[in-house]
């Protein structure tokens, strides 16, 4: 009889909901465990997904001819820019020069240019034109000329006629240049790079990814024409990561 009574009581206890059976301290520990696990899961998910898709997408698009600095520099800065964007021009005239003097010329940083044509038809044309100039080994000259001639958006500074005129100024093979443009040789590449920049987190231009060369795990992004001091902080951090991984 006593056994029967104990068995019934045991059955009643085990059929109670788990949360009700757990007393205060046990329930608290369980909640803390779940909360911490949730936090760790969120951080891990973020680390896995952030920016890497965009960077991976870029890996399939050659940057040959569009880089400054040594190929094996420990840190790479990927610059996403639009030739019609005034802040991109400011970056080129100011911060880019300081980067050149302090890091690129010393073999510490490699700068890689990517298109992010967001500001209309002339941005798209200018980006393709610079790529066609790259075919003839004059990317940076054409790039500089475009920024020098930047005016109000879509006002003719980078019209079909203007971009051919710039090609003539630089002594490019104009027929080859026009053919490159007419064939739309770099249409898809410009679109792909623009999307890659957005996937990496860029919502406008200029946008930068500062990363230890060959590893995007702890890359840093900078949105807008940030002061040189911010670039320095990001570069020094990535240099430390690059040294640590050697």
């Amino acid at each position: 009889m006593a056994n029967k009574h104990r068995s019934k009581k045991h059955h009643q206890r085990s059929s109670r909901p788990l949360a009700r059976r757990l007393r205060g301290p046990g329930l608290l520990l369980g909640v803390i465990g779940v909360a911490v696990a949730g936090f760790v899961a969120l951080v891990t998910l973020g680390m896995v997904s952030q920016g890497e898709e965009g960077i991976e997408r870029l890996e399939g698009i050659s940057a040959e001819g569009r880089t400054l600095g040594e190929a094996n520099a420990p840190v790479t800065i990927i610059e996403f820019a639009d030739y019609q964007c005034p802040h991109c021009k400011e970056f080129e005239q100011d911060v880019a020069q300081q980067l050149q003097e302090e890091y690129i010329s010393k073999g510490l940083v490699r700068l890689e240019f990517r298109n992010m044509a967001l500001l209309g038809d002339e941005s798209y044309l200018a980006a393709q034109a610079a790529e066609c100039a790259n075919d003839q080994g004059k990317f940076w000259e054409y790039h500089d000329l475009l920024f020098e001639n930047q005016r109000a958006r879509n006002s003719g500074a980078f019209s079909s006629e203007s971009i051919v005129q710039y090609a003539e100024e630089l002594g490019l093979d104009v027929d080859r240049f026009i053919s490159c443009m007419k064939d739309g040789t770099y249409e898809q590449q410009v679109l792909d790079e623009t999307e890659a920049g957005q996937e990496a987190g860029g919502s406008g231009t200029p946008f930068f990814i500062v990363t230890a060369t060959g590893s995007s795990d702890d890359s840093v992004t900078l949105q807008g024409n940030r002061p040189f001091s911010e670039f320095r902080s990001a570069i020094e951090e990535q240099l430390a990561l690059a040294r640590a991984s050697q």
Binding site: R23, G24, V36, G201, Q223, E230
Partner: protein
């Protein structure tokens, strides 16, 4: 004398616990407001109103502003909504939901506080910009966490012998 002290204690503790439970609700509502506003900015592309140093746009447009394509602000809105719902359930008299709800508020606030601490670290050392909205949200979550922990202690729910009838 001892009887009076016991009576006073049994009256003060539930009153304090009730006040702490009540305080969570407006804070959760404020957090829902911040989450809703920043989600609206994200989806509409409208310029974000930013006080202080003005780093909100930089933070909002950084790669850390979304998690698997979902804006972090929307996750924040969902978190505050869950805290608000649990906070309301904690006010019910008796029942399983009322018993577990304060622990849920505590757990959600703990998770949120840890994650917003991580986001603040990202702002300082990865994005190099601080968003006043994010700081406000992190402060709200930390406050809710402290209040919920105090409520658990004041209500006596952490005792082994605590029951719904207490």
């Amino acid at each position: 004398m001892i009887g009076a002290m016991v009576a006073e204690r049994t009256l003060v503790a539930p009153t304090l616990a009730l006040a702490l439970r009540m305080a969570v609700l407006p804070l959760a509502l404020a957090g829902m407001g911040i989450g809703a506003y920043l989600s609206f900015v994200h989806f509409s592309g409208a310029p974000v109103y930013c006080s202080g140093a003005g780093g909100c746009h930089t933070v909002q447009s950084s790669q850390y502003a979304t998690l698997l394509g979902v804006p972090v602000s929307l996750l924040g809105f969902a978190l505050y909504s869950a805290i608000f719902a649990a906070g309301l359930a904690a006010h019910r008299r008796g029942g399983q939901a009322a018993r577990v709800a304060p622990f849920a508020v505590f757990g959600l606030a703990l998770s949120g506080t840890l994650y917003s601490g991580y986001l603040t670290w990202l702002e300082l050392y990865r994005i190099y910009a601080v968003c006043a909205w994010c700081v406000a949200s992190a402060s709200l979550l930390a406050t809710i966490f402290v209040l919920s922990a105090a409520e658990l202690a004041a209500s006596g729910r952490l005792r082994d012998d605590w029951s719904d009838d207490m």
